[in-house]
């Protein structure tokens, strides 16, 4: 499937080439459906949005080792990422400032070998802040 960023991303006949362009046209609450492909992009999501791939093994967003792959930049944004893989960032695969749900996805091979010359205020996280459980 070949998209074009001059399209409006509204129909299968007018698909866009990049996820970033689709985000730029999206309104709060929209869903972006991704065809199976590797997308070499770094995305900033500043609104409530559903990003839905065609399967984690076939729909890949690759940061190319340059920057965060997906950033949820708005504290009031509700974002879902599903059925996709996010990989190859530096430093973070996903950076979330909002509310985020990740479903049926893979986050892999993210990290850095560089050093950051800033101080980050990192407090210890209470154990109660993290829950690990099975829903079945």
């Amino acid at each position: 499937m070949n998209g074009n960023d001059s399209n409006n991303c509204q129909t299968p006949e007018t698909t866009c080439k990049t996820i970033g362009h689709a985000i730029s046209l999206a309104a709060s609450g929209d869903s972006i459906i991704l065809a199976a492909a590797t997308y070499a992009e770094n995305l900033i999501i500043g609104l409530s949005l559903n990003v839905i791939g065609s399967g984690a093994s076939t729909t890949i967003i690759d940061g190319g080792g340059k920057g965060t792959v997906v950033s949820v930049s708005d504290a009031v944004a509700n974002v879902t990422l599903s059925q996709l893989t996010i990989q190859n960032s530096s430093p973070s695969g996903i950076y979330n400032l909002g509310s985020l749900e990740i479903t049926n996805s893979t986050v892999r091979n993210n990290g850095t070998t560089s050093f950051i010359g800033v101080v980050l205020a990192i407090a210890s996280v209470p154990v109660s802040a993290m829950a690990v459980y099975s829903s079945s």
């Binding site: 430093p91 990740i102 996805s105 993210n110 010359g117 800033v118 829950a131 079945s136």
Partner: protein, 75 residues
């Protein structure tokens, strides 16, 4: 399939360039005040690696969470 976190690592060595030398990298940095939920997903191979003179110090492998947020890993 349960959610899986495996083979994520931190290997950072730094010192000698001032009082603060910080390296970080991770699969997910969650600093949102809202809930983050991970369902039926895999985090693997996320790592920080580097070496600079001396003592190890770095953050994070799979997930970094700031205070006052909530992360849930769910089947």
């Amino acid at each position: 399939m349960n959610s899986t976190i495996a083979n994520n690592s931190i290997h950072v060595y730094c010192s000698g360039s001032g009082p603060y030398c910080f390296a970080f990298g991770d699969g997910i940095s969650n600093e949102g005040a809202g809930r983050m939920t991970i369902v039926n997903s895999t985090l693997s191979g996320n790592s920080v690696s580097g070496k600079k003179n001396g003592n190890p110090f770095g953050c994070c492998g799979a997930i970094f969470m700031s205070l006052d947020n909530y992360t849930s890993l769910t089947r």
